[in-house]
Symmetry: C2
């Protein structure tokens, strides 16, 4: 027999991301304006680079402890002490290879055949495939642009069954930029804890929130950490996605299990990057305020520009650097996005990347300059006027 490797059938649950598909296609074209890229466009702040270089000069290139650098875990406890009501200690943290690995560990350690995980659509690209990779079923809750992608907590609560092992939350959300009010999070968290369901909360955009809003975290409520796993990262807040330093938070006994799992997926995380992360947490936070200020200006402008677009249903997102307008019902968003790329060279991400219910929508990222945003809409506005649905 000369057959190719026979894969674990569960791998079929993992699609090629729509983001990557568009990106590859766009790479074959000229003069493309990208509103498709989900990473900060700001340079990494100089003091963080400096700390990274210092760590390298000091020979910090050996393995860390399984849970990460003790100094980073301590810095994280201090950081959260000012931010949430839970009294977190070092044993509540696990350093991971980006929030990506944290989400992988959280979802695949809980999901299993015969179990269900509640996911709110539009959902970040990792969530649904990972649930299915682990052999569990996704229970989808649908939200819409008309409602600013806010979720009704009762709809989530009503979806809990005895087979539900986890509910995945992501606020501020990718791809929507939607921030849930504290009452929404609280209602879901309390009900989940009461029913023995774990909340997996992806909070990577928790510092990128506008309009003087609080940045609610599931750690703000008085619930047992046995029922909570938070995934987060330095990537977005400090513009260091390529360093791959993230973390997760849970009860110390959950962390013990997740840490063991972690040593089998990636052994440990990158060492000098963790020293850079310590400086990110402890150093001057002006850089964060400046970046968030820029994102806010862009958010304001893109919301205004979308109002000038025909056919699109938009809303005011309050965090992250995404917005997800929708097209008239029944429109094939993938076909629309492809046509937009070919005809006016504006690259967006098709909605079906984020769930079956999002086919008539598309994601725009404003992690790019105001100039490029203006340029994109100078193409989009007249082009949309000529479309009919």
């Amino acid at each position: 027999m000369n057959v190719s490797a026979r894969w674990n059938p569960n791998l079929e649950a993992l699609p090629t991301s729509g983001i990557r598909r568009m990106f590859n296609l766009a790479a074959t074209l000229e003069d493309v304006v990208h509103l498709s890229i989900g990473q900060p466009d700001f340079p990494t702040p100089a003091h963080i680079i400096k700390a990274h270089i210092k760590a390298l000069r000091e020979g910090k290139t050996r393995y860390t402890m399984d849970a990460g650098l003790p100094e980073l875990l301590t810095a994280l406890t201090h950081y959260y002490r000012g931010r949430c009501k839970q009294n977190l200690i070092e044993e509540n943290f696990l350093e991971t290879t980006g929030a990506g690995e944290a989400i992988f560990l959280a979802v695949t350690s809980l999901a299993a055949p015969g179990r269900e995980v509640i996911v709110i659509e539009p959902s970040f690209v990792l969530f649904q495939p990972l649930v299915e990779l682990a052999g569990a079923q996704v229970h989808r809750i649908i939200t819409t642009a008309e409602q600013g992608y806010q979720v009704d907590p009762n709809e989530v609560i009503d979806a809990i069954t005895p087979r539900t092992c986890a509910i995945i939350l992501n606020s501020p959300g990718n791809p929507t930029g939607t921030v849930y009010p504290p009452a929404t999070l609280q209602a879901i968290c309390h009900e989940a804890a009461n029913r023995g369901v774990t909340i997996i909360s992806d909070e990577v955009y928790d510092r990128i929130v506008f309009d003087e809003l609080p940045s609610p975290s599931v750690l703000d409520f008085d619930i047992d950490l046995d029922h909570v796993i938070v995934a987060s990262s330095f990537s977005k807040t400090y513009s260091i996605p390529g360093l791959r330093v993230g973390w997760l938070i849970s009860s110390s006994r959950n962390v013990k299990t997740l840490r063991r799992y972690h040593t089998y997926t990636t052994t440990v995380g990158n060492t000098p990057g963790q020293w850079a992360a310590i400086e990110a947490l402890k150093g001057d936070q002006t850089c964060v305020h400046e970046m968030v200020g820029e994102y806010r200006k862009r958010r304001n402008r893109i919301v205004e520009l979308l109002k000038a677009c025909c056919h699109l249903q938009s809303y005011q997102p309050q965090g992250a650097f995404y917005i997800m307008p929708s097209l008239p019902k029944g429109t094939d968003g993938s076909e629309f996005v492809l046509r937009m790329l070919h005809e006016i060279r504006v690259c967006a991400t098709p909605g079906d990347t984020f769930g079956k219910s999002c086919r008539n929508a598309f994601r725009l990222s404003y992690a790019t300059s105001l100039e490029r945003i203006e340029n994109a809409f100078e193409r989009m506005i007249p082009w949309l006027e000529k479309q009919s649905f």
Copy 2:
């Protein structure tokens, strides 16, 4: 209900590593000589640190492409062109978070319920638990110190059944330091390819080989890469374990699948570390020869010292930086190692960490100075004389 998170039952396959258990215990004692640590004790070569710093100064802190930095993939193709008979191209490589992630991807993408994976004991700590995590069964082939832990290829071949999806090889091996002769590898590889079984070859120690031996790789044979996944890393060769830069090699169509999986486990690897890795490959290789020269001196001395020890069966390992002597049959190696730690403060790794058949053995790592090695044996030799089994 206030129960703890209900884990995916497959996680039960993952034990806490015996290496970590000993390390934690040793941390509570004073004056311990460690022969237990599996990472190079040499500083990272200066030119590699310099390249890493340069990348940081140039702002190389953003995400790479899914497969890794294109420049690193190209450097790897050039590197292997001089080392093996396969004509590898960029599409045969995937950059991973250390060889650890490469092994995780390889094993869990192939193993599945109803399938078997052949593992040769003593085996590296990740192999058997990962097979079981994926729901498959381990078929263990036993090797012994008496035979220098060489494997009879026919024993491996005879163990192949229609349910066998993979055979895991690791030469030079951790924990044994054993290097398989080309004929052994060739026989196993050809039979596997003929029967549609994938070889997963962990070659992280391929540059740490003594006695003017060739360093045989499964890539030396004319077999279809659809049946081969090689895992490797910069960690050991260049003394940069904390940078977490590894890679895997397979057919381009296998790599496509594994790359997709990789984007769900960790998204991508660390960016500036990959620039450092390029310099490691392209730069002066004197550092590697010097380190290997040191390891050889230590290997020679430790083999000599073990001959002076009562009760121990030893052998001459030809690679890596480990040796795994065995105690008389039926001895509980874990109890022995614990007693050795408590009574003479020498820390080794108990054999059962590497498989059920290795209970009467223990691993010594010589990734430590000759002085410490001498010191350890000054304690061990008289102490062993007083033991009876």
